[in-house]
Amino acid sequence: MPAVQETVDQVRRIDIDQYKYGFETVIEVDKAPKGLSEDIIRFISAKKQEPEWMLEWRLDAYRRWLTMEEPTWARVEYPKIDFNDLYYYAAPKGTSGPTSIEDVDPELLRVYEKLGIPLREQEILAGVKTSRVAVDAVFDSVSVVTTFKKELQKAGVIFMSISEAIREHPDLIKQYLGSVVSTTDNYYATLNAAVFTDGSFVFVPKGVRCPMELSTYFRINEKNTGQFERTLIIAEEGAYVSYLEGCTAPQRDENQLHAAVVELVALDDAEIKYSTVQNWYPGDAQGKGGIYNFVTKRGDCRGHRSKISWTQVETGSAITWKYPSCILRGDESRGEFYSIAVSNGHQQIDSGTKMIHLGKNTSSRIISKGISAGKSNNTYRGQVSIHRRAENARNFTNCDSLLIGDRCGAHTVPYIDVKNASAQIEHEATTSKISEDQKFYAMQRGIPEEEAIALIVNGFVKDVIQELPMEFAVEAQKLIGISLEGSVG
């Protein structure tokens, strides 16, 4: 059929044409020498002007990391990473840490402008940008600016880069850093503990409802540089915060590594809503280049009646290995995971969640929508674990996979582990293809093929899109559409 050649051409075009954040910024950088050693860690720690205890923490992690093996259980394939062939620190020259907007290199401001990230508070306040969102902008290894800090301070909310927090709030850092994801949790988390460079720190004190959306925007620019993000969010008793992270990177032929650790702590009656729109460079049509996104994200519902909700829209990265999880420690605490994972081209995704029920009357909800197109592979891997003392725990899981074309794969690997007979677990899973019937029906009404697919896919992911903060829902929908362009087959 003539359609086949057309499809081949379209598939060939994808990613390269569609990834609109693939530009590179030429900027003078301050880099650590290539490779990983105790000296490099000392270099990073010194650059960050860290106290001695922080350096010791890093070195301890590094020594342990040396004894660990890379995990191989995920359904992803990639050549072995040479960890000595990477740069672990790169910062735009003259920026050793965040400053006020006036001091930021105009070249950097242009980058964020191009990415559509609002950094100028005045414009936001004047209503040039419609939504009021505080942003921490992380460029390679450093945070370049954090907006609305003062206004947030008035409400008692601390929002700053983690590097600053280590210097300014050492007690909070000592108390919470590594308390959810321990230094030795897994290979990449341990590596992160040794070499993490920047990320965000959020502290919402008792009874405070954070007055605006917080967000961090991660950009990897430098070649052969790993980005090791470390984010820590604490909501004290009765506090509420909604946080969003966004990620992009230039198009490069080499693979780049992003190994992040995110820790959330919710005390009694606190709620944290964490949303991700991950759009790292996914590699070209042949599967060359792209980000390896190896991430450990975990929330601890430490207090009673606390709630942590993860929402993710994953469209980028060559490889994604990511399981945002909840430890439901407090009685009546609640964990939620809403995920849309879109893979196209040669992308590989192995993602899901873990819900660990420890407290009484804890509940969790998992809604996962995987969409595979091109030659990609998309795996949902999830665990629901009900511990012996978790009376009356409840879980609802729904995993739906949608296949577009016939050269991609969708896999669902749920683990359920129940040690208390009072638990109620529900699991639903479906795998479907966008049917020719649906596509034909929509086209018969005058809707062109790609719009028809986007419409059907957006219907498929609707349950999750609804969970995103409103400002980002529309953007996420568009992003999904763009990611699937050229997937028609």
Partner: protein
């Protein structure tokens, strides 16, 4: 309006020939009924007219207003004015009926180089058309065809037809699965859309529907060919005597 000349078509996958030298002309303003026994190629004809790529045209021509449509994809044909009311309308989960209508109407307008509808204008049109078909607002908010009863599905098809204002309507077994009340609502909806510059093809197995949608011409399709054409009386003859006689005469 529509002219089909010596059409031959087969199933793309296995090459089975379904349409074997079909000729048919339908004029503007005309209601043409196509009747025939099971397996005669009735539904296939509706799919070929609307451009489904499961079928290949191997010979012949389909002209809409004098222009060949064979090279056009289904969406392009829809924008040229071809509308197919499906025998089995397809469910689209998560997409509200209202949203689907808006996308379809605006895509067709875009293809024809017209302005997109404003939201108030769109809502007004939908409300008017829905009221005539006794479709309530709650149904419009539900995902398209998901959990709709047989009658609701067929009414939703006619609603789309009314809003998209096609020049050629093809109704494929629209009466199937309808009780008499639902059938009347649907038939009224179709009759209300009759106009001098619109042609309608009613594909049906039984003459029942033709008591409500009165055809100007009746054509009997058998083994991929029109074997007999006539007026409304032909439908009654088929109802009384079955297809065997006509098939026998043709053979």
């Amino acid at each position: 309006m529509l002219e089909i000349r010596n059409l031959h078509a087969r199933i793309a996958e296995d090459g089975t020939e379904i349409i074997r030298g079909l000729n048919l002309t339908v004029r503007a303003g005309e209601v043409a009924a196509i009747m025939g026994p099971n397996g005669s190629g009735k539904s296939t004809l509706s799919y070929i007219l609307s451009g489904r790529d499961d079928y290949e045209v191997t010979e012949g021509e389909i002209l809409l207003n004098g222009e060949s449509i064979l090279e056009l994809n289904p969406a392009e044909r829809a924008s040229k004015g071809i509308f197919l009311a499906f025998q089995y309308p397809v469910e689209i989960p998560g997409v509200a009926t209202m949203q689907f209508l808006k996308v379809a109407m605006n895509e067709q307008r875009k293809a024809r180089g017209e302005e997109e509808l404003t939201t108030p204008d769109f809502i007004r049109r939908v409300k008017e058309a829905a009221a005539k078909l006794q479709i309530d607002q709650a149904m419009l908010r539900r995902p398209l065809n998901v959990g709709f009863s047989g009658g609701e599905k067929k009414r939703a098809e006619i609603l789309q037809m009314a809003l998209l204002e096609p020049s050629l309507c093809v109704l494929d077994e629209t009466d199937s699965g309808l009780d008499i009340d639902a059938l009347k609502i649907v038939a009224d909806g179709v009759n209300a859309l009759k106009s001098p510059d619109r042609a309608t093809i009613v594909i049906t197995h039984y003459q029942r529907l033709l008591d409500y949608i009165i055809p100007d011409t009746v054509h009997v399709l058998y083994k991929g060919q029109i074997i007999r054409s006539g007026d409304k009386a032909l439908a009654h003859e088929l109802e009384a005597n079955g297809y065997a006689d006509i098939i026998g005469q043709a053979a």
